[in-house]
């Protein structure tokens, strides 16, 4: 089976005009890998912005156009859903804060051309969570089917309630009260993030760019899976490209240091530099004057491999090992060991039961 080397792939992502050297066969693989990574429309936006689209093979233009049509329709849906959710919450005097993909789409502070987000993430205050959940339920949002254990996991251990789905439209909403699990002992001081919000012209609230970067970093480097890790890295790089200033970096540093995320921040900058090699990040790395130790170099190697799209035609040796290491790290960061053991044993028991006798009957 023909393959594309991951170095070549990331070189194109870092510098999209290199597509001009691609053969027909390379183009096929590139587009299929980008489809898996949800980045086809992103590439379309990049190539359109540098005026390269018209010189591409006709089939490639067709595929990129198709991806863009879908992305734009999805973004329209996201904007609508955020307005509806915001309007419902305001009836109970709650102002939700939209996060990640939804935020990038609804706010002019972020570049969202070609960005696809499959569900909506929003933050409310912990003491507003019950009221918010009830209000949603009264308006045809249903809690997704989770068993009692998973429900308890979400509410007791985690920083979110089980995902909710709009009954008619199928939109999925993840409602959080923090940006990381409280049980981990590493959840940030959420009031610091509530102090860094901005409201767009259409009345929707999001984090300010520096806070959004820190949130995206937490999501990328403290979770057990990085399926769309490359997209997350591109999101962060885009925030940096748009807002690169002393004031911006000062805000980032304040949030990082005030919440004990210095190690993650150092790893993030090294990772972005390794992937995209942009001047603005390279300068921050130099300013850090940080010599990565063995542990950091190991995790850098892991993430550099793990964030690549997982596709049989993208040649990425040892990616399996890297993703397994990230998986273990993510889980161990989310829970203290005792809780993790208890949680793992329940998950293993449920997986074995399902394999032997199928799904448990609903009670």
């Amino acid at each position: 089976m023909k393959q594309l080397e991951q170095e070549r792939f990331i070189a194109i992502i870092a510098d999209p005009k290199q597509v001009q050297q691609l053969s027909a066969s390379d183009w096929e693989i590139l587009l299929w890998v980008l489809d898996t990574a949800r980045l086809e429309a992103w590439l379309n936006a990049q190539l359109a912005s540098i005026g390269l689209k018209d010189s591409l093979p006709a089939t490639v233009q067709t595929r990129l156009d198709s991806a863009m049509i879908y992305a734009e329709r999805q973004q329209q849906q996201v904007r609508y859903e955020c307005e509806v959710i915001s309007s419902l919450m305001s009836e109970k005097c709650i102002t939700p804060l939209f996060l990640k993909g939804a935020a990038y789409v609804i706010s002019a502070e972020f570049n969202s051309a070609g960005r696809i987000c499959s569900d909506i993430d929003a933050l409310v205050k912990r003491d507003e969570l019950d009221v918010a959940e009830r209000q949603l339920k009264m308006n045809m949002w249903l809690s997704q089917d989770v068993d009692d254990y998973d429900d308890k996991y979400y509410r007791e251990y985690a920083h979110e309630i089980p995902p909710m789905m709009q009954a008619e439209r199928g939109t999925v909403l993840d409602l959080h009260h923090n940006l990381f699990l409280p049980v981990s002992g590493r959840a940030p001081k959420i009031e610091q993030f509530w102090a860094k919000t901005t409201t767009s012209d259409n009345g929707l609230s999001t984090l300010k760019p520096a806070a959004a970067l820190v949130h995206s970093m937490i999501h990328l480097l403290m979770n057990e899976e990085v399926t769309y890790g490359l997209r997350d890295c591109l999101d962060i790089q885009s925030i940096i490209d748009l807002h690169n200033s002393e004031a911006f970096w000062q805000d980032v540093n304040t949030l990082v240091e005030g919440n004990g995320f210095t190690q993650e921040y150092q790893l993030l900058l090294l990772l972005l530099d390794a992937l995209f090699g942009q001047q603005c990040v390279r300068e921050r790395v130099k300013d850090m004057q940080y010599t990565p130790n063995v542990k950091t170099r190991f995790w850098l190697w892991c993430y550099r491999k793990a964030v690549m799209p997982d596709h049989p035609q993208l040649r990425n040796p040892y990616a399996g090992i890297a993703r397994a290491a990230v998986y273990c790290r993510g889980h161990s960061q989310k829970m203290p060991l005792a809780t993790l053991l208890k949680h793992s044993s329940v998950k293993i028991y449920k997986a074995v039961r399902k394999a032997l006798v199928g799904e448990a009957d609903k009670e």
Binding site: M1, E28, T36, P57, T59, R63, D65, S66, I69, R73
Partner: protein, 284 residues
């Protein structure tokens, strides 16, 4: 010998792996088409698991290494491939408005037959295809969003149950894949409507009419009913695969097409009548 690509005219799909019998059917239907430079999709039909390769074998369809459907018995591999290609188009091609309808063309003018269960549409499509009409598609009308013309697709006609025997009776040279029995639609076989040489002469056609056929063996006289434009719009809208993704573009082109065409519901027992009716009433 395997088949590595499926050139559908409109676009091409790489074909990574197929069970032997399905590969033979695919070669029969697509083998004479040349290779396009770049494939838009990559598909495969493969055994669902090592165990199920040998015991009550089942197969699954993959598109870009993802599995969108439940597996089917291995005997239905080729049918699964065709249904899978429909899925790829419906969920991944947003450059045209795709309607669930057959498209028959004569003299550069196209008539659409929206998919209605029990209408005898596939039998009618096959008969017309064997009697001077060009089959632009059996199941998926591909409509240009700017001009409203319909594009041809290089796909077979999916025949079910008795229509398989009928086609074999009408034409001894009909190129048919082996029959898959016990599918969700009964017995299914695929008819190669045209060869690549014929197909390459097809160009985008103007839509002149929409017909809702109803085969009624007891109809001694054919019954004709005019279908108004609101009904026609509703029928296209409910039979569109990707209307909701295309948004206003699909609304605009559908309105333009509906305003330009005539609509009929025809209860018929005679295929000869249908051909004459289409030529006399719809083609100018």
């Amino acid at each position: 010998m395997s088949i590595n690509y499926l050139n559908l005219g409109l676009l091409q799909s790489d074909c990574l792996t197929l069970p032997k019998a399905a590969a033979q059917s695919a070669r029969l239907i697509y083998g004479d088409a040349p290779r396009q430079d770049i494939s838009s999709f990559c598909v495969a039909v493969k055994p669902a698991s090592l165990l199920r390769r040998f015991i009550k074998p089942i197969v699954e369809f993959e598109s870009n290494f993802r599995i969108p459907f439940k597996p089917l018995p291995a005997s239905q591999s080729y049918a699964l491939l065709e249904w899978g290609l429909n899925w790829c188009l419906a969920t991944g091609h947003f450059n045209h408005l795709l309607l669930h309808a057959a498209v028959l063309v004569k003299d550069g003018q196209a008539v659409l037959f929206p998919a209605m269960p029990g209408s005898g549409k596939s039998t009618l499509t096959a008969w017309l295809g064997l009697n001077g009409w060009s089959v632009y598609s059996d199941e998926m009308a591909v409509i240009d969003l700017h001009t409203g013309t319909v594009q041809p697709m290089y796909r077979p006609i999916c025949l079910k149950n008795q229509s398989i025997d009928l086609v074999q009776k009408w034409s001894t040279d009909a190129v048919l894949t082996p029959v898959c029995h016990d599918t969700a639609k009964g017995s299914v076989a695929h008819l190669k409507a045209h060869n690549w040489q014929e197909f390459s002469t097809f160009s985008p056609a103007r839509i002149v009419g929409v017909v809702f056929p109803k085969y009624d063996a007891s109809a001694t006289e054919p019954q004709l009913y005019a279908v108004d434009k609101l009904q026609t719009f509703e029928s296209f809208y409910t039979n569109a695969f990707n209307y909701h993704v295309l948004g206003q573009a699909s609304f605009d082109i559908l309105t333009k097409v509906v305003n330009q065409i005539q609509g009929f519901e025809v209860h018929y027992a005679s295929l000869d009548f249908m051909s004459d009716f289409l030529t006399d009433e719809l083609l100018s």
